[in-house]
Amino acid sequence: MAKEKKVHDRVNWHKEFRLAPGYIILSLWVLFTFVLLGWVVGASFSTSKEIFSGAVFKFETGIHLENYAKAWNTSNVSVFFMNSLVYASISCVLLIVICAPAAYVLSRFTFLGNKLIQNGFVAAMGVPATMIVLPLFGLVAGWNILNVSLANRAVLIFLYVGINVPYTTIFLLTFFSNLSRSFEEAAAIDGCPPMKTFWKIMLPMAQPGIITVTIFNFINVWNEYFMSLIFANSDKVKSVAIGLYGMINSMRYTGDYAGMFAAVVIVFLPTFILYVFLSEKIIAGVTGGGVKG
């Protein structure tokens, strides 16, 4: 028995040795990523002077939490942060309300135009933003409402939702087609009307798919840049991505590197934390329910 185990161990070591080049390559890449993030976090607790003298991790003058306070309050990061949080949350809810019923019907019933809608949605996922931004801007600018911050916010959320409708629908469609029809049949036999069946039975059953696609939508809206840059008209309604860009721009004149890195960390953190807890689900979503080429 013991002998067998020994043999097994030796074979394993041989295997690990053979894989050594692979370990080295991946470890170097991962190390680089860690140094990149670690240094930026370190710098955000440091001072601009220490950053320039290369003494980021010595913390000779203590840990400077005030960088965060400064970025959060005086540099408006709190405003951008709350804006993005509101935009992303509302968009995620609306996307499920709009796309889940459509995905269900498209996956379950054959009707005129079903295939056409599906193909249209798949094609829309490959359309560059340049192809749609001009008429949309013309439309919205023509209403003259971008000066009102509430209307501006509504326009942004409408755009975030619209851009993500095709992806969300197709993702949920694949998910619904993998659910067995037997549940609806059982519900129909018990006299449950189809719409009620959807809300009470099918939607709760699609919960894993809904959660995954909502994570993706949240990340997409949080990181969206092009549309926000064009449609967000004032500092009051800017999202984090645009706000950070503006900050970095002005940072060139103030030279407050520590404050800038603190802002970078604040913007970076929400989706990063989401990822730390949900990386398995996110990765499964990328490869499983993704686009059909």
Binding site: I25, C99, F121, T130, M131, L134, N223, I230, V286
Partner: protein
């Protein structure tokens, strides 16, 4: 083993037809919101953009009655503008060289990940991570830290390894800015394409490899003659996705040209943005039709690449 649910499923097929008629309202109510959103955000703008590209239009908000038909003039104008030609060349360089680098690294990493190493999930998760975080934050880290000539990471690495060329290399110098942009962008993109390749490799049955091992093929031969040919479908997916993200290349370009404004990093989307929405410092005439033509050209490129890929990678056995 008889499955009750399967029986119900069988009955359900017959009932589906009658159920469909009853549920016409349900179909309409459920599908309309999504289709309306799709029409407003995609269908209507795409059609209008195509039309716009054939007209001379003073302002983006102008009504159609004010448009002035100009045929292909916008396209001719674009191609005779040097800055636009440079921007097209830049996006081609990003797509082509960046594509080779990203696909090569992604395939290498995917092959390593699926070779039976430990900590596979941790490696995979960390390499994919840059795709999840804000690209503005990521680009800032590269620009302000990694490439910094004063306290940059590459400078420190060069110093530690006594590689003078790396220590002295001025990444943010106008003549090197494109390389810097390419390196930073590729770093973030590898993870996504690696995931697609890795899941493609995982779907290949182990029996192929067992048979090959019996026939005496080594790992490299197995990779060359089994893995690669069976990855046609996922390669198509990867190239398509890479081309789509290249066509929309904007954020990285804008952030990198912030340090030094130059022609090294301008892309068509940036050109269009400056032309239509910019402060108007470099552009002489305002014509929304030109912006529309840029969008149409980029879309044509994506469609062409898609068609070519479809022809080359005909085998669709494994795809996502």
């Amino acid at each position: 083993m008889f499955d009750g649910a399967a029986l119900l499923h069988l009955i359900g097929i017959g009932k589906g037809v009658t159920r469909l008629k009853k549920n016409k309202t349900m179909i309409v109510v459920f599908v309309t919101p999504a289709v309306v959103m799709f029409s407003i955000i995609f269908l209507y703008p795409i059609i209008r953009t195509v039309l716009m590209s054939f007209f001379k239009i003073e302002g983006v908000t102008d009504a159609m009655s004010k448009w002035e038909f100009s045929g292909l003039a916008n396209y001719i104008k674009l191609f005779s503008t040097e800055l636009f030609r440079i921007s097209m060349w830049n996006i081609f360089r990003i797509w082509f060289f960046g594509g080779i680098i990203v696909m090569g690294l992604a395939l290498l990493f995917a092959a390593i990940l699926t070779s039976g190493i430990r900590f596979k999930n941790a490696f995979r998760a960390i390499i994919y991570m840059p795709n999840v975080v804000s690209a503005v934050a990521l680009a800032t880290m590269w620009l302000q830290y990694v490439f910094s000539p004063k306290f940059g990471l590459f400078k420190s690495i060069g110093k530690a390894l006594h590689w003078e060329w790396l220590e002295k290399f001025q990444w943010l110098d106008p003549s090197h800015l494109f390389i810097a942009l390419l390196v930073a962008y590729c770093f973030g993109m590898v993870g996504y394409h690696m995931l697609i390749f890795a899941s493609g490799i995982e779907r290949i049955g182990t029996e192929y490899y067992e048979a090959a091992t019996l026939d005496g093929a080594n790992r490299i031969q197995q990779f060359r003659y089994i893995t690669l040919p069976l990855l046609k479908g996922v390669t198509k997916t990867n190239i398509t996705m890479w081309s789509i993200s290249s066509a929309g290349f904007f954020l990285w370009s804008q952030l990198f040209s912030m340090v030094v404004s130059n022609t090294q990093t301008i892309t068509p989307v940036v050109y269009m943005y400056q032309n239509i929405f910019g402060a108007g410092n470099s552009m002489t005439e305002r014509n929304a039709g030109i912006g529309a033509a840029v969008g149409v050209l980029l879309s044509i490129c994506v469609v062409l690449i898609f068609i070519v890929c479809d022809k080359i990678f005909k085998d669709n056995d494994i795809e996502f």
